[in-house]
């Protein structure tokens, strides 16, 4: 396949950016989208130009590093991560726009690479269960009903890629935050910190400059791991319950 790419180029956080146009040829249907970009970069290096910077690591759809907006969609046309998107989703002669995540809370580092450390700070605010090493009772001391365990797992699948934020017209991080709140709050082990967890995580999310949620639902459509939209309403319920219960 022969393709025309329009790629966002930006030297660093403070420099202005612009779309640059490239052509790539000899692209196989079996290539992943990132392997197609590898091909472009090999050519750029040999031409003495700066290759396109993008985040990627496991290339198995689980580490959450890759993060491209492709033709306006976070992670592109299929419901998966960019690394698992294959060129068979495109046609010979296509023109493809490639941009970084766009959100106030995710400043561009270079080209297609953004800074998602705000996500880490949301987790640091309460996205954990306090269980110092060595303090644990036997694993079978507390059975967990299968529906609760499955609910926890479904939310724990979040890979922290940030597609939800990139897809949201408001740049909101509600789906990311709610996934972790719901994972931990449904478990008996998470109960002692249930209220402080949701209050602190939501407060940090707001302070990091993410937008508010208007339930547009774009986040859940873009999520490669299928975190469901009702996750957000479940967190809102947790938050309301906590504000009534906790005096601070």
């Amino acid at each position: 396949m022969k393709l025309k790419l329009r790629v966002w180029r930006q030297r660093n956080t403070d420099a202005p950016g612009a779309m640059a146009t490239y052509e790539v040829d000899g692209i196989s249907q079996d290539m992943s989208f990132l392997e197609m970009l590898d091909t472009l970069n090999e050519e750029l290096i040999l031409r003495g130009e700066d290759p396109v910077a993008f985040d990627h690591d496991c290339r198995e759809g689980i580490c959450g590093a890759c993060s491209l907006v492709i033709n306006g969609d976070a992670h592109g046309p299929e419901r998966t991560t960019t690394c698992q998107l294959h060129m068979r989703s495109f046609k010979d002669g296509d023109s493809i726009d490639v941009e970084p995540w766009r959100a106030a809370a995710f400043p561009v580092v270079k080209d297609l690479v953004v800074d998602r450390s705000a996500f880490d700070r949301i987790i640091q605010a309460g996205g954990y269960i306090t269980a110092p090493t060595g303090a644990a009772p036997d694993a079978h001391a507390t059975p967990v009903a299968k529906p609760d365990a499955d609910f926890a797992f479904e939310h724990a699948e979040c890979i922290g890629c940030g597609a939800c934020v990139a897809a949201c017209p408001n740049g909101s991080a509600m789906l990311f935050t709610s996934a972790k709140v719901n994972h931990l709050n449904v478990l008996p082990q998470g109960a002692p910190e249930r209220e402080t967890r949701v209050l602190d995580m939501v407060a940090t999310m707001d302070a990091e400059g993410f937008g508010g949620c208007t339930l547009a639902g774009e986040c859940a459509t873009a999520c490669p791991k299928g975190i469901p939209l009702p996750s957000i309403s479940a967190m809102n319920k947790e938050w309301l319950r906590a504000t009534r219960k906790v005096r601070r």
Binding site: I45, R59, G61, T133, A139, K146, Q189
Partner: protein, 661 residues
């Protein structure tokens, strides 16, 4: 200064098959006495640091995977100050996250005859009797605590309807001791460790340096005192100091270019430590995983694993006749060869990884492989779907099937999957004693970065177990002994001559890489090296092949230093520079791997020397000659390394020819 000039000199390179034999390793610090009491004894004998004094100590931890994340969180909980590093943008992305199948523990919740001793036995046997008994037994003991710890953290393991934990079987064992979280066990365990680490970052006890890569080790007066690291965003090179350094930087499978490792997983931290005095043990022990998705062409950048758990219910086969190119569903039952079930009736599809991989290679070499280039075998779920129903198969393996379909555009519910072996894990690594300390005092190595518990072949679901055992339980107990015995180390800062020298060497190396301005990309060299390694140091190795590799690698290295092209500068975000710098180390490590493979003229586990096999084609060990761990000492660039042997003594598990028939 670095001496890379001799690398570019084709005519005078030394004999790369040569090595010297150094003094054997006399003391591994493993205590004496009954094996089940040794870990207790060591913990009791270890000196402790008073809780009030711990905050005066700083420990550097490099890596945030299962081992590093667990160690950083636990050391900080104990009261130490931790400086933690990862090259990723977040500690949550370490490659432990990609482990799929599960984690072993001798809980015996199934009442199927499991015990600590059985897990110990299975692991020593699975490793083909090339691991240290005392360490493996400790691992089996700790396995039960790991599950408790992870459940307390909220790791959502699979559960049954009664609310208790579910388990499944893995290769090389006959009990059901593998705990799992669908096909994402590594992810869930890693997020547990990441969350524990995040709590400490918020508390200020861990200082996290993300997007910062360790490029060298600082050794002062014979002790590890810090690291040199590069900020991957600004390119700034900085030095960091501590009372001890812990490397949890993972394995070196990416030497092969194509592997199941993450793209940026690399060997720089352990290789630079090796150059500074840490022995490197059993570098040739690499694991080729039998169930990966076959490659599709030259553009392939990495390989994707399909969890070994699939072998619980999937059946592996190839056509009985050579060159049978009918679609799989048109090949009748009696014209298929379920070769693992045929050759190994009692373990069937669940033989250990090294055996399953080699068997796949053998049938493909016979011309019975399937798919493009005949480099594949079928993994078929038709029987399982008939037996369990599609819904249950979906519940157990759904995400793996989805992943397969996304990559291959084939539906595994209808067409058998095609799989082929790929480089997955490295059992070798930095040599460590029972305390997980390397031969450089104050430098520890944990997780895949060390060589410890898996011998010549790792059993499935044991990497997660070892990473977490090292990080949560072993290192936090043993490091106090080192710290307590070295209470008032002289303070070190950036002006110390040992530090300025390492800093200058690091800057110089990067400058040289940028200065060559040749005509070949970093990837082109990495790919070339990988092809040599896969051909000569992959699933089957020969004396002649390894000698060829030891001839080729120095040539590639010379070529690299003459023709490498790295665009941009060192003072900015520069992924090509990162890559090229890692390849510098692969080019040296690859040579040691081949030398180790050449010197070990026996087959054991994942190391299969064609000259050494039984009449049935199984690996033939030579215990009288090779019952040792090979610990290599770096003696200087371009100089022959020195081999130090750690004799392996088996008091509890008597070495036998492994049999899974």
């Amino acid at each position: 200064m670095n001496d890379y000039t001799h690398y570019t000199d084709h005519t005078h390179y030394p004999d790369y098959t040569a090595y010297e034999t150094g003094a054997p390793i006399a003391d591994t610090k493993a205590p004496e006495g009954p094996i089940a009491e040794r870990w207790d004894r060591r913990r009791f004998e270890a000196k402790l640091v008073n809780p009030a004094n711990r905050r005066k100590y700083t420990v550097i931890v490099v890596g945030t995977g299962l081992a590093g994340g667990a160690a950083g969180a636990t050391l900080a909980e104990q009261g130490y100050h931790v400086e933690q590093f990862c090259y990723q943008d977040s500690p949550r992305r370490a490659h432990s996250i990609a482990a799929q199948g599960g984690i072993n523990a001798a809980k015996n919740y199934r009442n199927d005859g499991d015990s600590v001793h059985r897990l110990f036995y299975d692991t020593v046997k699975g490793g083909d009797f090339r691991a240290r008994e005392a360490g493996v037994h400790r691992l089996a003991q700790i396995s039960v605590e790991i599950i408790d710890q992870c459940v307390a953290q909220g790791v959502p393991f699979a559960r049954e309807y009664g609310g208790l934990l579910d388990t499944r079987s893995f290769g090389g064992v006959q009990v059901s001791r593998t705990f799992y979280a669908r096909g994402q066990t590594g992810q869930q365990l890693l997020l547990g460790a990441y969350q524990a680490l995040s709590r400490q970052i918020a508390a200020g006890t861990v200082t996290m340096h993300a997007r910062t890569e360790m490029l060298d080790l600082i050794v002062v007066d014979g002790r590890a005192r810090g690291i040199v690291a590069r900020d991957l965003i600004t390119g700034e090179i900085s030095s960091h100091f501590a009372d001890a350094v812990v490397l949890a930087s993972g394995g070196y499978g990416n030497v092969f270019y194509l592997s199941t490792n993450a793209m940026n997983s690399n060997a720089t931290a352990i290789w630079r430590a090796h150059r500074r005095g840490a022995y490197f043990a059993n570098p040739c022990f690499t694991q080729i995983h039998p169930t990966c998705i076959p490659r599709t062409g030259d553009h392939q950048s990495k390989l994707t694993l399909m969890s070994e758990s699939l072998r619980n219910d999937g059946r592996i086969w190839v056509p009985a006749a050579k060159g049978d190119d009918r679609p799989p569903n048109e090949i009748p039952e009696d014209e298929r060869d379920y070769y693992l079930e045929r050759i190994y009736p009692s373990f069937g599809n669940l033989v250990p990884r090294d055996i399953a991989s080699r068997a796949a290679k053998n049938v493909c070499d016979e011309g019975r492989g399937v798919g493009p280039g005949g480099q594949g075998v079928y993994l078929d779920f038709a029987d399982a779907i008939r037996r369990m129903g599609r819904k249950e198969v979906e519940e157990k393996y759904g995400n793996l099937f989805d992943m397969y379909e996304r990559i291959t555009a084939e539906n595994p519910y209808e067409v058998p999957m095609r799989i082929y072996p790929a480089v997955h894990y490295t059992m070798g690594g930095l040599w460590v004693d029972y305390d997980l300390q390397t031969t450089v005092p104050g430098l520890f190595a944990i997780g895949e970065a060390n060589f410890s518990d898996h011998g010549a072949n790792r059993l499935g679901a044991s990497a997660l177990m070892q990473g977490l055992a090292d990080g949560y339980f072993v290192l936090p107990s043993t490091i106090s002994d080192y710290l307590a015995r070295n209470p008032h180390p002289t303070s070190v800062d950036a002006s110390h001559p040992a530090v300025t020298q390492v800093l200058a060497e690091t800057e110089d190396r990067l400058r040289q890489l940028l200065a060559v301005d040749g005509d070949r990309t970093p990837d082109s060299f990495h790919r070339e090296l990988g092809e040599v390694m896969w051909e000569f140091c992959g699933m089957a190795r020969t004396d002649a092949g390894l000698r060829k590799a030891l001839d080729r690698i120095p040539q590639i290295r010379a070529e690299f230093w003459r023709r490498i092209k790295v665009p941009g500068t060192g003072k900015e975000f520069n992924q090509s520079l990162e890559k090229a710098n890692r390849i510098v180390d692969y080019l040296e490590l690859a040579e040691l791997m081949c030398l180790d493979a050449l010197h070990r003229a026996e087959s054991c586990g994942g190391h299969f020397r064609e000259e050494s096999q039984t009449p049935d084609g199984e690996a033939a060990r030579h215990d009288e000659e090779f019952s040792y761990a090979a610990a290599w000492e770096f003696t200087g660039t371009g100089k022959a390394p020195a081999l130090h042997k750690e004799d392996l003594v088996f008091e509890y598990v008597h070495p036998t020819q492994r049999s899974y028939a």
